[in-house]
């Protein structure tokens, strides 16, 4: 069976899946940037104690699953989400939904995702895709980060749905319950809710590891990496930072450009709140993240290696922290019109 479903490429998997699954309800109105912003997707967290691929855990986006959950919640759309202990049940449930004509979001691991190039396959288990049909032994897949729709055999899909390790998907699938159209009024309310949530995530989480404070702290740490870790390991850590920031799925500049795009679109719904000016600050921030990435590349390629080079790198992050602090403070201070 094949559901009438149009594949749309997006930058980030989860906001892309969210936008696509809500397309019917919203009549195309919930774009990827809107889903990302309403879902309060922007974040920064640095957890040196948790190691991912032998480097520190760094993320520029919120925890997996939250964007879909928050966006649907803010729009008042009920969500079905299920995990499975049995592979057979996981497949049967999926096929039932497809037979009903419901496209389904699935959380998967990328290590055994056959259509990804080998260089990109790590044990990362929070990738998202949409299954929208089955033809013979092939499931029809809309993976938002890919240009075109693709396919996975029954075995291949089972393998990635039951990938193991951190954030193991355990067959997890999700979809919104279709409940009529989404109104502009709902979207406006959801935008304000999403912005408030994101302000909280970036400004008000206590401690040094998350939000704006996390960026500043990481900047200070980077200046010490050269002495503490040695050039080789410091280079590996910086490469990890750049990959989390710029790799496929981020839209560039550590998701800051998607957020800037969100604020532009939000301005159309809620004009006269100064959102366009604040959007510009996020564009600046994204540009600065990319400038920092170029500096980092100089270090991990071995072109530059002095302490002064590490200081410049660290100072970029400290500058970014200041910029984003001002942007979120401005968002926090809006008297909504």
């Amino acid at each position: 069976m094949k559901i009438d479903f149009q594949h749309v490429q997006s930058a980030h998997c989860e906001s892309g899946v969210t936008s696509s699954l809500l397309r019917k309800n919203s009549g195309n109105k919930i774009t990827e940037p809107l889903a990302f912003g309403i879902g309060a997707g922007l974040f920064f967290v640095y957890v040196p104690l948790i190691k991912i691929n032998n480097g520190p855990a760094i993320a520029f986006r919120t925890f997996p699953g939250l964007i879909f959950k928050r966006t649907c919640e803010a729009l008042g759309i009920p969500v079905i989400r299920k995990k499975f202990s049995s592979k057979e049940q996981a497949e049967a449930f999926l096929v039932e939904r497809l037979n009903e004509g419901t496209p389904v979001g699935c959380q998967v691991g990328v290590y055994y995702l056959s259509y990804f190039p080998k260089e990109y396959r790590f044990h990362f288990n929070a990738h998202n895709l949409i299954v929208y049909g089955k033809e013979e032994d092939n499931f029809l897949i809309s993976d938002p980060v890919m240009e075109n729709a693709t396919m996975l055999t029954t075995y291949e899909l089972e393998r990635v749905r039951f990938a193991k390790g951190a954030l193991a998907p355990r067959g997890q699938l999700y979809y919104p319950q279709n409940d009529g159209a989404i109104t502009d009024e709902q979207i406006k309310k959801a935008i304000i809710k999403g912005i408030k949530k994101n302000v909280h995530m970036m400004l008000q989480i206590p401690g040094w590891f998350a939000g704006v404070a996390g960026i500043k702290h990481t900047g200070k740490k980077i200046k010490m990496w050269r002495d503490k870790l040695g050039l080789h390991k410091a280079g590996l850590y910086l490469a990890q930072l750049v990959r989390m920031q710029e790799e496929i799925g981020t839209g560039g500049g550590g998701f800051r450009y998607i957020y800037a795009a969100f604020l532009q679109e939000a301005d159309a719904y809620l004009p006269n709140n100064g959102l366009l000016e604040i959007s510009n600050i996020f564009t600046q921030s994204g540009d600065l993240w990319r400038t920092a990435a170029v500096q980092a590349a100089g270090i991990y390629k071995g072109r530059i290696s002095s302490q002064a080079d590490f200081n410049i790198m660290g100072d970029y992050l400290i500058e970014i922290a200041e910029l984003e602090k001002n942007a979120f403070k401005a968002l926090k201070g809006i008297k909504w019109q």
Binding site: Q9, S10, A11, P33, N53, N54, Y111, Y112, Y115, F116, P117, K118, E119, Y120, F122, H123, V145, M146, E147, N148, K164, G165, A166, A168, G235, L236, A239, Q240, V242, R243, E246, E247, I248, G249, G251, G252, G253, Y257, I258, A260, A261, Q264, T283, G286, D287, R290, A293, V294, A296, A297, Y300, K301
Partner: protein
Amino acid sequence: MKKENVPQDLSSLGKITKEVCYATDSSGKYVKELSAGWEVKINALDVAWDDIKGRIARAKEQVLNKVASPLLFFMEYRLMDISILSDYTGFWKWQIKRHLKPDVFNNLPEKKLKKYAEAFNVTIEDLKTMTVHED
């Protein structure tokens, strides 16, 4: 980032799919723009893989010198740590640590070897002989 500045440095991913970046057009409005890749992140990925290749080579040497069992080699080859391998096989971490010793590994029953072979997606024979086929 302006639309015309979206980098187009062909990456290994770019050969399969271009990726969406958000960038501004001449009026400052955000649009989706496709990118074939960016040298800065191609280098970052290369750095990560060079490190992995080094780890695989060192693991191989340790196995050949009989300091470690072939499990170590396949763990590095499949980018797994003990915790991921434990999740895939159902063995406890302390069991895996034991199985990393060549003497213990050489006496493992077929049934246990099969679990490891499945986790690494190789045959039992390949597991024992540290043989890999590109996939």
